[in-house]
């Protein structure tokens, strides 16, 4: 068993377009306890210079998780999802995600390493508009716990 180190360096084909809805942003904002009107009220968002309501900084995880599923579901990866723990997450936002965005996410496996009997898999999801404009980068390290 164990994670296949050969998946390091792989890039998976992007999944379907993720269309960002106002209601999804509002739902996510509520779920993180934020009552900021910039997530709900287009006028409040426009007052801050945005074209429509914007997503909270960690909303990108929804889009990233969709892309990362390609790695976990790759039969060659050897990743047992029931043993996965989230180790680290980092977002770089070139601009906020805005309602109406049509996003394309591409996942790259940046590294696989063993530590203390566990495998650490670092992925990087590049999120861009359909036209190719970079929007966000989500770098994630998952720990796949070794067997006992």
């Amino acid at each position: 068993m164990g994670v296949n180190p050969d998946i390091a360096g792989r890039t998976y084909p992007p999944g379907p377009v993720y269309e960002v809805g106002r209601e999804k942003i509002a739902e996510f904002a509520r779920a993180i306890g934020s009552d900021d009107p910039v997530h709900r009220d287009p006028e409040a968002a426009r007052a801050l210079g945005y074209p429509d309501v914007i997503a909270p900084p960690t909303f990108a995880i929804i889009v990233a998780m969709g892309a990362e599923a390609a790695v976990v579901q790759d039969p060659e990866s050897g990743i047992d999802y029931s043993r996965v723990v989230h180790g680290e997450e980092r977002f770089t936002h070139h601009r906020p995600i805005v309602a109406g965005d049509r996003l394309v996410a591409t996942v790259n496996v940046d590294g696989v390493r063993e530590a203390g009997g566990h495998a650490m898999v670092t992925t990087r999801v590049e999120i861009a508009s359909e036209g190719g404009e970079p929007v966000s980068t989500a770098a994630s390290t998952i720990v796949v716990r070794g067997g006992q």
């Binding site: 739902e27 509520r30 779920a31 993180i32 910039v38 900084p57 960690t58 180790g87 680290e88 770098a139």
Partner: protein, 142 residues
């Protein structure tokens, strides 16, 4: 309190600390909104079966909640240009009326005069456990 400006903020400034409650309901709501339905976030039996003391919060919910300290201080969630954390310990959420408490504090740890951004270093604890490590947000200020 108005929004902080880049020029008015100094390295060493503390952000107002906050305590955020996290209940089982919050975990269920976050599961639905995020699409992360891992059983350890809602099923005590299965959480304990894998060695956890109880149901634990999604790391991403802890991360998102800690970010509110920064976004509410900055007055603009879109001002966060970078945000990263390590998940060092789980937030254990008991099945009672109070849930867990997430205590978050932050301090301005750096300024970039060219990008006009500041780096905020966050500390997040629950109980006695430091639940996030190297939690840093880079925020663009007006």
């Amino acid at each position: 309190m108005g929004r902080p400006t880049f020029d008015a903020v100094a390295v060493g400034d503390a952000l107002p600390s906050r305590t955020f409650p996290l209940t089982r309901l919050d975990l269920v709501r976050y599961a639905g909104a995020s699409g992360d339905f891992k059983v350890i976030h809602w099923n005590q039996r299965l959480a304990q079966a894998v060695g956890l003391p109880d149901v634990i919060a999604h790391g991403m919910l802890t991360m998102a909640t800690a970010a509110r300290l920064v976004t509410e201080w900055a007055g603009d969630p879109g001002a966060v240009v970078e945000y990263g954390v390590r998940f060092t310990k789980p937030v254990v959420v008991p099945d009672d009326d109070h849930g867990a408490e997430l205590e978050v504090s932050g301090v301005v740890a750096g300024k970039d005069d060219v990008a006009r951004t500041v780096r905020v270093d966050l500390t997040a604890t629950s109980g006695d456990a430091k639940v996030l490590g190297r939690a840093q947000a880079v925020v663009r200020l007006p």
